[in-house]
């Protein structure tokens, strides 16, 4: 492999891992700020980088039953949020394939 590989983004504002500064997503990819995670506020992004996905499991959330996978920072392996695989309710379908990053685990990076 030759080197650890991280993606670097550019855009107006870049959100990255609080612990290790790895880039996750830019503000252009942010879809909503109105989510709640285990640690408080969370944001919905259409695309994130430098995360690895865990196993899918069913989880009941305030908005209903979903299949989600936890996502982890590739550099420091902290859990930073989750990804929606499937939503059982029609109104929640828009979340499928999108990512949640918890506000507690990310910060603005350069």
């Amino acid at each position: 492999m030759g080197m650890t590989r991280l993606e670097f983004l550019y855009g107006g504002r870049i959100y990255g891992c609080k612990k290790c500064n790895a880039h996750f997503a830019t503000i252009e990819n942010m879809m909503s700020r109105a989510f709640q995670g285990q640690h408080g506020r969370a944001y919905l992004f259409s695309g994130v980088v430098n995360v690895s996905e865990g196993e899918p499991n069913e989880r009941p959330m305030t908005t209903g039953l979903h299949i989600v996978r936890d996502i982890f920072c590739t550099k420091c392996n902290d859990q930073v949020g989750w990804k929606y695989d499937r939503a059982y309710e029609l109104s929640q379908r828009y979340k499928e394939g999108k990512f949640i990053l918890e506000r507690e685990m990310i910060k603005i990076v350069d």
Binding site: G2, M3, Y10
Partner: protein, 809 residues
């Protein structure tokens, strides 16, 4: 074919194919090929065949001089008679005749009795000119009858050819135009020792051999120069007489003598006579002469004459005022020694006159005055050319005029001699220490291992031991760098940089100034500090203790590689552009266009309009940037597409070697900012692969590759001449040993490090030790296994081989 000249320089004659020596020549008469027998039997034929038919020796390099000397005058009945007499020990000649002739040819003290005897014999001969080419070729395998033409026809032929060109024997058809060398018919009056005459030998045509491109006159004059320089003046005069060419005209000799004797007026007049016409050259030449004259007056304490020279002859010449001032100031010198020192001048009795002559010679046309040491210069060029063309060049000292220099592949490192195992995961970089006695390797397993590589005394074996394991990083290791004195080692894992003391293996300091991956670690060549560059766009200067001394303002690129030129002045950085140009302005257009041309040929299409991306930085712009270290200024930057993986700088601080994800390895010329060379052959790859320069004069480029093979190119011609297999998966880094000249190291994703060297001799079945270290337990074994000689498949498409299982070859 001048057999004289072929003996003086045997190398030349041996390279001429045999067929060209006897070639039909459509000239006046069949002068180059033997004539068919005339109807009348020549009177001396039988005697001649008695002598020569049986006595053509096979070509023997020791004796061939002897052999050809016997055949020199073949072709003429009387001459043959003379030869026969000289060869056999008849009482008529001193028994050492042939020996002495050999001496003459070899350049020893010439014995002239032989010449005299032959000359005497020749005067019996009605023909004063000889054609030595006929049949004097001992190497020819043609039948004796061809070699010995009939004497009568020989006479006829000779008469025909030379009668046409001759007018009283003073000029001859081989005079080349423009030459000032006079023709010397006989030189008996020049040298009183030579009683007999040296007869001129004039083969037809103007080239050295038939079909050769070398002009005979030019060649002879160069040989004359060489003979005179060595001191073989007798040989030189004989050659002048025999060839009819002279080394230089009397005018040139007069000029040369005038300069060497300090006869400046004559010298200055001589300049014009020699053909220096151009105003600027004349002025420069006159200035040089006057300067020498002035200095010599000063040295001799003739200050009035010196002043006169200065005022009237130097000053009006419109030279730079600084120079004029310096010359004037030399009047103040207290004594000649002081003068010599201040003027950096050798003195009239030293080399200064010869140096002056050399400098003046540059203004004279080279055909008039042959440049000094010209033949040696040409041979030097030939030598350099051969070394340049030598593909596996490892041994610069093997150089002889007798054969072309060519190093064999057997001296080039093509086999794995050692496999070092100690890492638990992929090994990403290897680097030799500057002294070449240690190897540092860094790995994904978060450790650095230092190996000691030593040569077992008096053998070609290397002894490789694991010396230290440096633990402490919490991330995989990205870069390592030895300090110039090899006492300290820097290593970086993600954003952490650690400074280690090599002797103790202890981590001196952990530097956390960066917050993104640090991939650029380089020491300043004076060892006073180092520079780090990171993906966070910071370039930081540190001192040798690990304290920050300077932080640059943020640079435009996220640095993925950094290298400092060995002269310590410039910094090359490669990286990803952090904020691409979104508007296509003037400069943006030109950058895109330039880079586009480069990259389209490599198969990468640049994005037309970079916008906020979806995390696909493979399409984002990369840059190579050259900075001046002292000022921090960007000297130039070049945009490229496709990831730039590693950068290394050549020893002359002039070129940067950059690996590209498209597979090619690029060589950039730093002063001009242009791509100088590109080495193709590797497949595309996303891994960060490091390449290196190799060979004593950096004539090889080596690189690993994702396909597990090591590619080696000739740097100048960019020919891929070796592909070495052995690693079981991608090779991440190669490094050439700075001390040994035929060893390099490589490391790969299979967790091993390999040392490569030349193929061992067939009968040397010695095992190369394979070291297996269990790093995680901390105990280090230094035992040799029952070693396996690992050799490698050198075919270009190898079957996969496991290192330990390959058979002994």
């Amino acid at each position: 074919m001048g057999s004289e000249s072929s003996q003086a320089l045997p190398g030349i004659s041996s390279s001429i194919p045999q067929s060209s020596r006897i070639r039909p020549y459509a000239a006046v008469g069949p002068t180059w090929t033997p004539l068919p027998r005339a109807s009348t039997e020549p009177p001396h034929k039988r005697r001649r065949t008695d002598n020569f038919r049986g006595s053509i020796p096979p070509f023997d390099s020791e004796n061939h001089i002897q052999a050809t000397s016997r055949h020199q005058l073949v072709g003429s009945g009387e001459a043959a008679e003379a030869m026969r007499l000289t060869q056999t020990d008849d009482g008529a000649e001193p028994p050492s005749t042939t020996q002495s002739m050999q001496d003459v040819i070899n350049g020893n003290v010439p014995c002239l009795t032989s010449w005299r005897s032959i000359a005497q014999q020749l005067t019996l001969n009605p023909i004063s000119e000889l054609n030595p080419t006929m049949g004097s070729d001992p190497y020819s395998s043609s039948s004796p009858s061809r070699i010995m033409p009939s004497a009568e026809d020989q006479f006829v032929a000779v008469k025909n050819v030379h009668a046409k060109g001759l007018s009283n024997g003073s000029t001859n058809g081989s005079v080349t135009n423009g030459s000032l060398s006079p023709r010397i018919e006989f030189n008996s009056e020049h040298n009183p020792r030579r009683v007999g005459t040296i007869t001129r030998v004039s083969p037809p045509g103007t080239t050295l051999y038939p079909g050769s491109a070398t002009n005979r006159e030019q060649f002879v004059r160069l040989v004359l120069q060489a003979l005179k320089d060595i001191g073989y003046s007798e040989s030189a005069s004989v050659l002048e007489a025999e060839s009819g060419f002279s080394f230089e005209t009397t005018r040139v000799t007069a000029f040369r003598n005038a300069v060497m004797e300090g006869n400046w007026a004559v010298a200055q007049k001589g300049l014009l006579a020699l053909g220096v016409r151009d105003e600027d050259s004349l002025r420069a030449a006159h200035f040089l002469i006057n300067q020498q004259k002035y200095l010599e007056y000063l040295e001799n304490n003739q200050s009035t004459e010196a002043l006169l020279t200065l005022r009237q002859e130097i000053a009006p010449f419109d030279i730079e005022p600084a120079r004029l001032n310096h010359l004037s100031s030399l009047i103040m010198s207290r004594n000649p020694d002081d003068l010599r020192r201040r003027a950096s001048w050798d003195g009239a009795r030293g080399n200064s006159r010869r140096i002056l002559l050399d400098r003046l010679q540059q203004f004279v046309p080279s055909s008039t005055m042959v440049p000094p040491r010209r033949l040696d210069t040409l041979l030097e060029q030939a030598r350099e050319y051969q070394q340049h063309m030598c593909e596996y060049h490892m041994n610069p000292h093997d150089s002889s005029l007798y054969h072309d220099h060519l190093c064999s592949r057997a001296q080039f490192p093509t086999t794995t001699t050692h496999i070092l195992e100690g890492h638990a995961d992929e090994v990403w970089q290897v680097q030799w220490s500057h002294r070449g006695d240690r190897l540092a390797s860094s790995s994904k397993d978060q450790t650095v291992i230092i190996w000691k590589i030593a040569r077992v005394s008096n053998s070609i074996e290397l002894d490789c031991t694991l010396e230290k394991v440096l633990r402490g990083h919490i991330y995989p290791l990205n870069a390592i760098a030895w300090s110039p004195d090899d006492k300290l080692l820097l290593s970086s894992g993600e954003h952490e940089v650690k400074l280690w003391d090599v002797e103790s293996g202890r981590c001196i300091k952990t530097l956390t100034e960066h917050h993104h991956l640090v991939n650029g670690l380089c020491w300043l060549p004076n060892g006073e500090g180092f520079i780090t560059g990171s993906m966070d766009r910071k370039v930081i200067h540190w001192d040798a203790a690990g304290e920050v001394t300077l932080i640059w303002p943020l640079v435009d690129i996220r640095i993925s590689g950094l290298a400092i030129t060995p002269n310590g002045q410039q910094l090359v950085a490669i990286g990803l552009l952090a904020h691409p140009v979104t508007t296509v302005d003037e400069s943006g257009t030109s950058i895109v266009n330039q880079a586009t041309v480069l990259q389209v040929s490599a198969g990468v299409q640049p994005t037309a309009e970079p916008r906020s991306n979806n995390g696909n930085s493979a399409d984002m712009e990369r840059r190579v940037v050259l900075y001046d270290i002292a000022s921090g200024q960007e000297l130039w930057s070049q945009a490229l597409w496709g990831e730039l993986q590693s950068v290394k700088i050549s020893d002359d601080s002039r070129f940067a070697l950059i690996n590209h994800s498209q597979g090619d390895v690029m060589l950039w010329d730093l002063p001009s900012g242009r791509l100088a060379q590109r080495y193709l052959g590797r497949p595309k790859g996303a891994s960060y692969v490091r390449s290196c320069f190799g060979g004593a004069d950096s004539r090889f480029i080596l690189s690993g590759s994702d396909d597990g093979r090591i590619y080696i190119w000739n740097r100048r011609t960019s020919t891929l001449f070796e592909i070495l297999s052995g690693h079981e998966s991608g090779v991440n880094s190669v490094d050439w040993c700075p001390r040994e000249n035929a060893i390099f190291a490589s490391c790969g994703d299979d967790g091993t490090i390999r040392i490569w060297g030349p193929e061992p001799n067939g009968f040397l079945v010695d095992a190369s030790p394979v070291f297996s270290q269990d790093v995680s337990n901390g105990d280090i074994h230094n035992g040799k296994d029952d070693g396996v000689l690992t050799t490698l498949d050198r075919h270009l498409t190898p079957p996969p081989t496991t290192a330990k299982d390959s058979p002994l070859r």
